[in-house]
C-alpha cells in the first residue's frame, strides 16, 4: 500500500485561478478631511495592506480598489490583489460628491465582475466600504438619490455588501438614508483599528466557502 508521502506526491491538482474577493474602498477626500483626519486615513490604509498580506490566502484572493470623492469622483487605484496593493497617500480638497463616488465604485465593481466571468474566475460577494466625515454636498440631489436607489437594488439582489462609516461630524442620519446597512460611527480617528478589522473580515470572507453569510468579527472601533 502507498505511503502517505507517495499519495501526496502522486496526486496532481487542477490549475484553477484563485477565487477573488473584491473590495472597493470609497473614501471621502473633501476639504473637511484636511489635517489629522486624512493623515489618520493614510496610516489606516498602510495597516490595511500590512494586515492583509500576513494571510497568504487573503493576499492572493482579496482584490482592493480605491475610489475617492471630493469635487470629483476618481479611481485612485484599480483592482489589484492585496499583495500588489500600494496604499495611496491621499490629500483633501473640495466638495463632497458622494453620489458620484458611489456610482463610480459600483461601476468599477460591475466591470471587475464582468472580467471575472469572462476569465472563468469564481468570486465572492464584493464589498464597498464607504468612509465619510460629512454628507453629500455640491452635487444635484438627484445624483445622490439615484446612488442610494442603486445601493438598495444591489443589496436586495445580493450583488454587493455596502458598508458605511462616519467620521467625526458625519451626518449619520443622512448616511442611513443612503445605505441599507446601519452605518457605523468611527470612534475618534481610529482608522488603523478600523482597517485592521476590515482586513480580518476580508480574510474571513476569502476563506469562507459557500456560506450564505459570514459572521464578521465585532468592530471594536466604532459605534452603531
Amino acid at each position: 500500500m502507498a505511503e502517505p508521502s507517495q499519495l501526496e506526491e502522486a496526486v496532481e491538482f487542477a490549475e484553477n485561478p484563485e477565487p477573488r474577493c473584491a473590495c472597493v474602498l470609497l473614501l471621502d477626500t473633501s476639504n473637511s478631511m484636511q489635517g489629522d483626519a486624512i493623515s489618520a486615513l493614510n496610516a489606516g490604509l498602510r495597516s490595511f495592506k500590512a494586515n492583509l498580506i500576513q494571510d497568504p490566502l487573503a493576499a492572493r484572493r482579496v482584490e482592493v480598489a480605491v475610489v475617492t470623492f471630493d469635487t470629483q469622483a476618481q479611481v485612485i487605484e484599480d483592482f489589484v490583489t492585496a499583495d500588489l496593493f500600494e496604499p495611496p497617500i491621499l490629500t483633501a480638497q473640495g466638495m463632497t460628491h458622494m453620489g458620484a463616488g458611489i456610482h463610480k465604485a459600483l461601476d468599477l465593481l460591475q466591470a471587475r465582475k464582468a472580467q471575472y466571468r469572462a476569465s472563468g474566475i469564481a468570486y465572492y460577494r464584493p464589498w464597498v466600504f464607504l468612509v465619510t466625515d460629512g454628507a453629500p454636498q455640491g452635487e444635484p440631489e438627484s445624483v445622490v438619490e439615484a446612488a442610494a436607489q442603486r445601493i438598495r437594488e444591489e443589496e436586495a439582489a445580493k450583488r454587493v455588501a455596502f458598508f458605511a462609516v462616519g467620521v467625526e461630524n458625519a451626518d449619520m442620519d443622512r448616511l442611513q438614508q443612503i445605505v441599507v446597512r446601519v452605518p457605523v460611527k468611527l470612534i475618534g480617528l481610529n482608522f488603523v483599528e478600523m482597517f485592521v478589522w476590515l482586513s480580518a473580515s476580508m480574510q474571513k470572507v476569502s476563506q469562507s466557502r459557500m456560506d450564505e453569510q459570514v459572521a464578521l468579527p465585532p468592530p471594536g472601533w466604532g459605534a452603531v
Partner: protein
C-alpha cells in the same frame, strides 16, 4: 448477478482556517454497504456561519444512509430516473427531519445546524446522486473515463449555497443517474472542488483522481488507509491551496486495480 462489493475509505479533516479560529471540523461523511452490495455514501459540509453545523453535518450524513439502508430492498432500475430521485430524496428528507429533531433537542434553531448534503447510491449497473448545496461526486468506468455527477458550483457568488434546512431544499435538490458499471467512485466536499475539478465547467481532473483510485483499490487495512487519506488531506501541498475543511470518500469496486 453476483453482488458487487466495494472497498471504501473516507476522511473528513479540519481545514487550516478552522484550526486558526478554533472552530471544529464541520464536514462529515458516512457510508455503508447493504447485503445486496449497494453502496450508500454521504458527504455533508456544515455552514461556517452556523453555530453547531458540525452536529448538523454528522447527523445529516448518518441519517441519510441509515434511512436508505432501510428501504433498499427494492432499488429502482438504472433507467428509472424518477424512481431514483424519489429514492434518494427520501434519504435527504430523513436527513432534514433528523437535523430538525437534533436542533430541537439542542434547543436551537435548525438554521444553526445548516449543512449541505451529497448522497450517492452505487449498484452494479448505475450510480445515482442527489444533493443539496455544493460538493461533488465523480465516477470512473472500467476504461478509466471520469464523469462528474454533480452540477458545477451554482450561484453568482462563491459565498452562497443551498442548505438542507432551507425550505425549498428538497424541491431544488439536483439529481443525476449514471448508467454503467462503475469501477471507482469519489465523493468530495467543496473544499476540494478547486483542486479536483476544472472550473468553471466542473470537469474531473484525471491526474487528481487516478492515484487516489489506485490507492482505494489497494486497501489492505481500512484503519491504516483512513490514516493515510487523512495525512494526505492535511498535507502542506493541500494546505497551501485551501484552508477549508476537507472530505474525501473513495470507493473501488471489487476486481479493480489487480
Amino acid at each position: 448477478m453476483e453482488a458487487a462489493c466495494w472497498q471504501v475509505v473516507g476522511a473528513s479533516v479540519r481545514g487550516a482556517g478552522h484550526e486558526k479560529t478554533g472552530q471544529p471540523c464541520q464536514d462529515a461523511h458516512a457510508w455503508l454497504q447493504t447485503p445486496a452490495g449497494v453502496l450508500l455514501a454521504a458527504v455533508a459540509d456544515g455552514a461556517g456561519s452556523a453555530a453547531q453545523s458540525e452536529i448538523g453535518a454528522a447527523t445529516a450524513a448518518r441519517s441519510a444512509v441509515e434511512r436508505l439502508r432501510c428501504i433498499e430492498a427494492g432499488v429502482p432500475s438504472p433507467d428509472d430516473t424518477p424512481g431514483w430521485r424519489a429514492f434518494l430524496l427520501s434519504g435527504l428528507q430523513a436527513a432534514q427531519e433528523a437535523v430538525e429533531v437534533e436542533a430541537a433537542a439542542l434547543q436551537t434553531s435548525a438554521r444553526e445546524l445548516a449543512t449541505t448534503l451529497v448522497l450517492a447510491a452505487a449498484t452494479p449497473n448505475c450510480v445515482a446522486v442527489a444533493q443539496v448545496g455544493d460538493g461533488a461526486v465523480v465516477v470512473a468506468d472500467r476504461q478509466g473515463n471520469l464523469t462528474a455527477l454533480s452540477p458545477p458550483p451554482s450561484g453568482e457568488h462563491l459565498n452562497e449555497t443551498t442548505f438542507l434546512v432551507s425550505p425549498d431544499a428538497l424541491d431544488t435538490a439536483s439529481c443525476f443517474v449514471w448508467q454503467g458499471d462503475a469501477a471507482y467512485l469519489a465523493l468530495l466536499s467543496d473544499g476540494l472542488q478547486m483542486l479536483a475539478l476544472k472550473m468553471p465547467e466542473g470537469a474531473p481532473h484525471a491526474p487528481f483522481f487516478a492515484p487516489l483510485f489506485r490507492f482505494a483499490s489497494d486497501i489492505a487495512e481500512p484503519a491504516a488507509a483512513q490514516a493515510q487519506l487523512e495525512a494526505f488531506l492535511r498535507s502542506s501541498r493541500i494546505a497551501e491551496r485551501t484552508d477549508d475543511d476537507l472530505t474525501l470518500l473513495l470507493a473501488a469496486s471489487a476486481g479493480t486495480g489487480d
